[in-house]
Subunit: 193 residues, 2 copies
Amino acid sequence: MVEDERISRADRRRRTEEAIVTAARRQFGELGYERTSIRGVAAEAGIDPALVMQLFGNKEALFSAAASAGVGLEALTGATTSELARAAAAHLFADFEDAERRGGAEALLRSCLTHPAAGAVLRDQVMAPTQAAVAATIGGDDAELRAAVLNACTLGVTIARYLLEDPVLAAADRTDVERILGPALEAIVSTGA
Amino acid sequence: MVEDERISRADRRRRTEEAIVTAARRQFGELGYERTSIRGVAAEAGIDPALVMQLFGNKEALFSAAASAGVGLEALTGATTSELARAAAAHLFADFEDAERRGGAEALLRSCLTHPAAGAVLRDQVMAPTQAAVAATIGGDDAELRAAVLNACTLGVTIARYLLEDPVLAAADRTDVERILGPALEAIVSTGA
DNA sequence: GTGTTCGGTCAACGCGTGTAGAGTGAACGT
DNA sequence: ACGTTCACTCTACACGCGTTGACCGAACAC
């Protein structure tokens, strides 16, 4: 806007798309799907609302673009049972501690209870694969259920700390939380088989 | 509607109020605050939208009335440290297993991430007191943080099971979930002091 | 019986939303 | 140099929302 020294069309587009997605991530993450409006995102990105439509098609697609990045679970499949608990704990946290990825993860999690599509993505594309990997590592009869509980606990702490902003949990140091959560998750994976 | 055999005015009012709150609980619980409309609630209750306004004032008040019941934490303060873990686990579950109270609890939890008031109520009026009670029972330096993590885990499992409807967790028997979650919560409260 | 209260309906308001289509001016290929 | 492409804006539509005030008829008090 204030800088305009001969920018190529491709660059211009890339920049605006990025500005839109960034603004969208911030608002979806802070307000959730319903309270976030295309007009609001456009205003924060400094462009016209209609341009958002033109570039992303509709609000749903914009949300997908905003929530897509930031929920990877790499480096969990190879762990041994004993490492796995702490790895799983650190996994979701990582998305929120990294400023780069936090936006997307927050957007997805914020809306997962009220927006059906977000809930489906979280359930089927984030939690299910993680649970499958964990269940495969730990054995026993209840492997799947144990993995699900482990996942749910991590989810709960993440939600309470970063979204609900429970005063105690939000103020605590990350390592302290992991120190307390770690043994609990170990208890989940190790009691059975 | 089909029954009309001389109903007193007081009875009539009580019945409609109840019908409205019931419908509101169902819709707030299923759809969340934003997607639930006064028109929709009125339709399900079989009355005019304006009547909801007349009886409850505004949407916010209706939500409060719908979400108020169902989140009690009685019988947690007296427990010893060893009992406490399982008691805390059973506590939030109870609200969801009892068909009577489930509506209110679900309404509150469904909207806690997207509706600021709901989040504040859950944080300050449900989680904080529980944490204080738990922290008082278990000792040690990190008592508060431990209590917070314990609460967050319970919250996570409840959300995953009843709201996100994680297939594994939702299908599992309640006692199985408690059997796995119990030791984990015990690990949280017992590792420290 | 009569006047009043009150549960309930009806029609309408102002607003914010997602979205569509025509238009504009600068970067582009030739 | 010129016609085209394309990022971008402006205006506007249709809709659903929360909310309001006037109105109606039956239960009430006397």
